[in-house]
């Protein structure tokens, strides 16, 4: 069965003023849709057709690059839409807060390290908060790679990710990636991050 582009779990303008409606609409309806369609086309008639996306990503080194790029793009954007929401908690709470404190010392330390990963990723890519056993680490990947891929330098389960492809921020922030990343913290859905951590 082909992969389906899910609707956004909120309106295009729900993340204003941090992420603008026009960016959200093009990002979801054009970019994410293209990854989904290209992934389905590339899988059609192959042995991997019908496999869960996580399984495909876990063996991505055996796949052609078109599946790596579009499979990653499909999965990463699904995660991205879900780990954002309007009006959520400003910071992690409860069990997730404990793990963040244990892994990084404090929320502030986590934020600095995550921001640094997002700003130093040269070119297109993602910064990640990754679950490894009971703790969390930060990494970044180029293009549409992610920590579920067997070829990732830092492997684990992504629980939070920020898209630093220029398409994620150029209409509103242009060259100012730091402003976009700072704005992103205002729309993180920490409940969903916690859910993914508890997985």
């Amino acid at each position: 069965m082909a992969f389906v582009l899910k609707q956004l779990p909120y309106a295009f303008n729900a993340l204003e003023p941090y992420i603008d409606a026009q960016t959200m609409e093009i990002h979801h309806d054009k970019h994410h849709a293209a990854y989904t369609n290209n992934l389905n086309a590339a899988l059609q008639g192959t042995a991997s057709e019908g496999q869960p996306i996580e399984e495909i990503l876990a063996n991505i080194s055996a796949q052609p690059v078109v599946i790596r790029n579009n499979g990653g793009g499909f999965y990463n954007h699904n995660l991205f839409w879900e780990i954002m929401a309007p009006g959520g908690a400003k910071q992690p709470e409860g069990d997730l807060k404990k793990v963040i404190d244990a892994s990084f010392g404090s929320y502030q330390n986590f934020k600095e390290a995550f921001t640094k990963a997002a700003l130093t990723r040269f070119g297109s890519g993602w910064a990640w908060l990754v679950k490894q056993g009971d703790s969390l680490v930060i990494s970044s990947t180029p293009n549409q790679d992610n920590p579920l891929m067997d070829l990732a330098e830092v492997k684990g389960v992504p629980v939070l990710g920020v898209d630093v492809w220029e398409h994620a921020y150029y209409l509103k922030y242009q060259n100012r990636r730091p402003d976009y990343v700072e704005a992103f913290y205002n729309v993180v859905n920490w409940d969903e991050v916690t859910r993914r951590f508890k997985g």
Binding site: I26, K30, H31, A34, V65, N69, F122, G123, S124, G125, P142, N143, Q144, W165, E166, H167, Y170, L171, Q174, N175
Partner: protein
């Protein structure tokens, strides 16, 4: 040595409506400028402090390579444009393109494909090797054919910042408009 940002060789709005003044303000004034500034900061106290750009592109790694190559790539890119471009190659370059690709249209089709399929940030190039043979190559991020001892003749920046304000996700539309302001006279001069 300290590098400086070369001025655009045309007015900021000269390429309208194909490449907008707003895009060029950011692309040249912010991105290209940032690569120059970063490079100047990064080389201080390193073996590249007094190196020329070619040496940096061929020998440096990491941030010095990325910023050095992007300084070169963008200067090379902006130099190609004109409000009154020669829209076709002539003479020896025309013959070489036809010899390699069959026709100018066939070359453009192959180049467009290279530009469209470079996944993520990067560049499409027409290059010449040591014996003068032409080919089309793609590079990712700051990648530059000079590092591989190839002579670049023509390039298209396919980082999203090159076209997102004007064309958003429609990279092929950007590449189609790119040809309308690409001056073949500049390319002949490089050949």
């Amino acid at each position: 040595m300290s590098f400086t940002l070369p001025a655009l060789p045309f007015a900021i709005d000269a390429l309208e409506p194909f490449i907008s003044a707003r895009t060029l303000e950011f692309h040249h004034g912010k991105h290209h400028q940032a690569y120059v500034t970063n490079l100047n900061n990064l080389i201080v106290g390193t073996e590249f402090e007094n190196a020329d750009l070619e040496t940096i592109i061929k020998k440096a790694e990491g941030g010095i390579f990325n910023n050095g190559a992007q300084v070169f790539n963008h200067t090379f890119y902006f130099e190609q444009f004109s409000a009154t471009p020669a829209t076709e190659p002539s003479g020896a370059l025309k013959a070489a393109i036809e010899n390699t690709f069959g026709t100018l249209d066939a070359f453009k089709e192959a180049f467009n494909k290279a530009a469209a399929t470079q996944f993520g940030s990067g560049w499409a190039w027409l290059v010449q090797d040591a014996v003068g043979k032409l080919s089309i190559v793609q590079t990712s991020n700051a990648g530059c054919p000079v590092r591989d001892n190839l002579t670049p003749l023509l390039t298209c920046d396919v980082w999203e910042h090159a076209y997102y304000l004007d064309k958003q996700n429609l990279r092929p539309a950007y590449v189609a408009d790119f040809w309308k302001v690409m001056d073949w006279k500049t390319i002949e001069g490089r050949f």
